[in-house]
Structure formats: C-alpha cells, structure tokens
Amino acid sequence: MIANNIRRLRFDRGEMTQAELAVKVGVTRQTINAIEQNKYSPSLETAFKIAEALGVAIGDVFSYQ
C-alpha cells in the first residue's frame, strides 16, 4: 500500500486547503481527498506534482508499506 503524509504537510504549510493543493497540482479537490485517504494511488506524474506543490521530495510525501 502507498501511504502518504499529505495532510500533515498541508498543515505544516500554513494549513493549505485541499482545494488550494488541487489547483496547484491540476486535479479536483475530490482527487486530493481520495489520495489523502489512501483510496486512490496517483500516477507518478501527479505524485511528483504534489511533492513539488508541497515543496518537499517525493519520498517525503509518499512511502510504500
């Protein structure tokens, strides 16, 4: 399973909302929510975009468990 720290990282960045992150990544807010809750595993491209939007390396956002 692919786990993630998106929620914590959003909180660390001034409580960025899911909608704000979604705009930066270019997906819907519902997709960010699904990724956060581990209901959907994003493509590599979207995973990189999320990491870039949060200003961290991809390994700091996602981990394989």
Binding site: Q30, T31, K39
Partner: protein, 139 residues
Amino acid sequence: MSFREKVAWICFLAMAVVYAGYFWAVLPGLASGQNVHFAGLLISAIVILAVLQIIPIVFVSAVSPKDAGQPEDEREKLIELKGSRSGYVVLTLGALVCCVAGMFFGTEPALLANYVLLAVVMAELSKLLTQIVHYRRGS
C-alpha cells in the same frame, strides 16, 4: 460532490425514469403481439431525455462554472474507463440475448429492435452506476 459526479447522477436518473416509462408503455404490447407504433414514443422519449439532462447540467454548470470548466483529471478518466468496461459487459450480454431470441425463438423484428435498445440502455445505466459507485467510494 464533484461536477462530473453530479453529471453522472443527472444522466443516470433521467435515463432510468424516461426509459422505464418508454419500455413500460411499449414492451407489454409488443410481447403480446399487438401492433405498437413505438417510433413516435421513442422520439418523444429521446427529446424528453435530452431536456431532462441538459437543463439540470446547465444549471449545475452555472452554479459552479469553475468546476464545470476544469478538465478531467486522471482519477476521473479512470472512473470513466471503469464505467465503460462495465457497460461493455452488459451490452455484450444483451446482444447475446438478442441473438438467441432472434435465432431460436423467431422474435418479431419490432420486439427484437426494442430488446436491442433495452440492452443499450441497460449498458449505459450500468456505466453510469459504476461511475457513481466509484465517485462515492472515492476510488
């Protein structure tokens, strides 16, 4: 609820209601051998369906134009593909049933045409329902 999920709900509900009414009016008569003029009913059903789908979708788009203008993202594309796969299975099964009905039971052409239409409608409903389920689950 995302814009595309709302559209899927609108299309599903409108299609279910309109075609339930159409088949309720046409199939019993055709099945009992009556001469039912279904072409007019079918055209009416298509027009009503278009109105019942277009007006709510325009309204939803007007309420949230930003969401409506956003292109499909990867998860939405995947959900659409899952819906299409489900619809394909239902359509294939429906086509097989129609073939059997035509070849082995000598079903009347008008009745057979409506069975084919029923298979197409069931396939579309299956596609939309699958999409709705995936949107609800978040997967």
